[in-house]
């Protein structure tokens, strides 16, 4: 009785359930690896909400010990910090807008085989991916142009990514050429074809590139460290860098009421709190935009 039934139940369970031993082991491994990407945040967030003594005693793991919000209060009470956040948003938006215009203006003509000099312009763009003047000549160029220590130094020098341009170019090339021919017969010129046909048809790719540019700028820190001295022009990442490297932590605490007791109280939690403060904007949008990124990477793999 049992003997004859046993194979049947196994067969049924094989068809109904995907959870074979192999799958369980696989899932456990993947979940553990994935957790290594999440738990550091949980730990840093827990630190940011814990008291100094708990952190120093090494008691904090994934849950706040002696919950306190002083570090966050200090951050939000510091006008420089909040202004820096807004300033970074503005820089990111302006940069992204400029970048998209530049990328579209270059990618579109380069897809036109009839364009005389196309190969030349293409090479001009591609060469910059493999060779550059180097850090110092670029720095001196910015200085000579008068952009040093102005927000323009964060916006203009990197506003066209050849890599992103190639992604858009390969997308434009994939659109059927008949669309353009038909529009030209109807009397449209190149500007109109680009605006009314190509751009509306490539919304998904444009969204992807917009995100590439925006996240890149939001996270960029090197250019700010090189070109910006004035505190008011420092984007969030540079502020965060100084706080992490320990040169500005006290500034924030003293800003708030100027009490040195607070400064010592939050000396351990201010760094994790600032990290969380700077990460939150990314974490909020991330789940919604992630798939666009994945798409961009696979398009980008197509040879330029």
């Amino acid at each position: 009785m049992t003997r004859s039934e046993a194979p049947q139940t196994i067969k049924v369970s094989k068809e109904k359930s995907i959870w074979t031993g192999y799958q369980i082991v696989l899932t456990v491994i993947i979940v553990l690896i994935s957790l290594t990407c999440l738990l550091p945040f949980v730990n840093v967030a827990a630190n940011s909400l814990s008291s100094k003594s708990a952190i120093l005693a090494g008691k904090v793991t994934f849950w706040p010990v002696d919950l306190e919000l002083n570090a966050y209060k200090a951050i939000f009470a510091d006008p420089a910090m909040v202004r820096s956040l807004l300033y970074t948003v503005v820089i990111t938006v302006v940069y992204t807008a400029f970048s998209m215009v530049m990328t579209i203006l270059l990618a579109y003509p380069l897809t036109k085989k009839r364009l005389a000099g196309r190969r030349f312009f293409n090479t001009l763009a591609l060469f910059t991916m493999y060779f550059s003047g180097g850090t110092i000549p670029i720095y001196l160029n910015i200085k000579q142009l008068g952009f040093l220590d102005t927000p323009w130094a964060l916006i203009l020098p990197g506003m066209l990514s050849t890599y992103n341009m190639i992604i858009l170019k390969s997308f434009f090339s994939a659109l059927p050429g008949e669309l353009e021919e038909a529009a030209i017969i109807d009397g449209a010129n190149d500007f109109l074809v680009l605006l009314k046909i190509y751009l509306p048809l490539s919304m998904a790719s444009l969204a992807t590139l917009t995100l590439f540019y925006a996240v890149g700028k939001w996270n960029s820190f090197q250019d700010a460290l090189y070109y910006i001295q004035t505190k008011a022009y420092q984007p969030l990442q540079l502020k965060l860098y100084h706080i992490i490297k320990g040169s500005q932590a006290v500034d924030i605490a003293q800003m708030e009421g100027g009490t040195s007791t607070l400064a010592t109280e939050i000396s351990e939690s201010i760094q994790p709190a600032t990290i969380i403060f700077a990460t939150l904007p990314i974490l909020v949008v991330y789940p919604f935009v992630q798939r666009y990124f994945v798409k961009g990477v696979t398009i980008g793999a197509v040879k330029g």
Partner: protein, 310 residues
Amino acid sequence: MTVTAGSNKRRRRSWLQDWRLYVMLILPISFYLIFCYKPMAGIIIGFQDFNMFKGMWGSQWIGLENFRFTMGMSDFSYALLNTLWLNFLGLICGFPVPIILAIMLNEMRSIAVKKISQTLLYLPHFLSWIIIGGMVLQIFSPSTGLINSTLLRWGWITTGIPFLTDGPHWQATYTLVGVWQGMGWGTILYLSAITGINMELFEAAKIDGANKMQQIWHVTLPGIRSTIVVLLILNVGQMMNISFDRPQILGNPQVRKYCDVLSTFVYRTGITNSQFARATAIGLFQSVVGLILISSANFVSTKLGEEGIW
């Protein structure tokens, strides 16, 4: 004769007809000229005793003196060797991880778990190195950090592991964090390559009695071979390039000899200490060697019958 005249005429007409396309090109091409090609001319200061006030054209030419001087600096040798060594470590430890991870993700049958895992795995790619660096400094801190405090509490160690304050430990931490940051994102290209494999090959392998491991070894891996080769070659071509953010945020004076790399060395020499000409010389050296490396990489790739990168 008539044919040539006709095609000339047509070409001229198309030049005129396409004026709008050229108008579009004005901004991006000016961008390249001003922000990419103009600095390339600035490379000449690497051969000068550059003086800010005399400018690029008024400074004295000193040939290769800057190169001779900087390459004689012990700091330069450390920076060069660390660059190559850290990149090598990153490649050896980091390159296989996304491949294994992609194969594992592809094997997963539970779509929900797979989606959530992927979302988590891609996350580090979206964070700046400043944020990751800040977290690393927190988590790997010698006494209060999560790892050391946990190990101490469990009694596995008696003193904190100097993850960031001892040279070799620092290099291991640097590499590990790099692998961690890039592993999820790196799976994307492999996953899309795996979906491109003909399903019938798996069916055929199954009918021939191949188990999971044999299927992976004989079908999946050969199926993504060209992706692996191209990415490997690209990585090798990048050996001289090292990002600035990661060594800059993770490094500290205690491990200077182990953490200083070309990018941070150029920053310190050129921008912090204003030795523009010497830093330019180092940058040029790095660019030229980098260009040679990537060209050779491309050459090897095409010779192997794989697609080149340009």
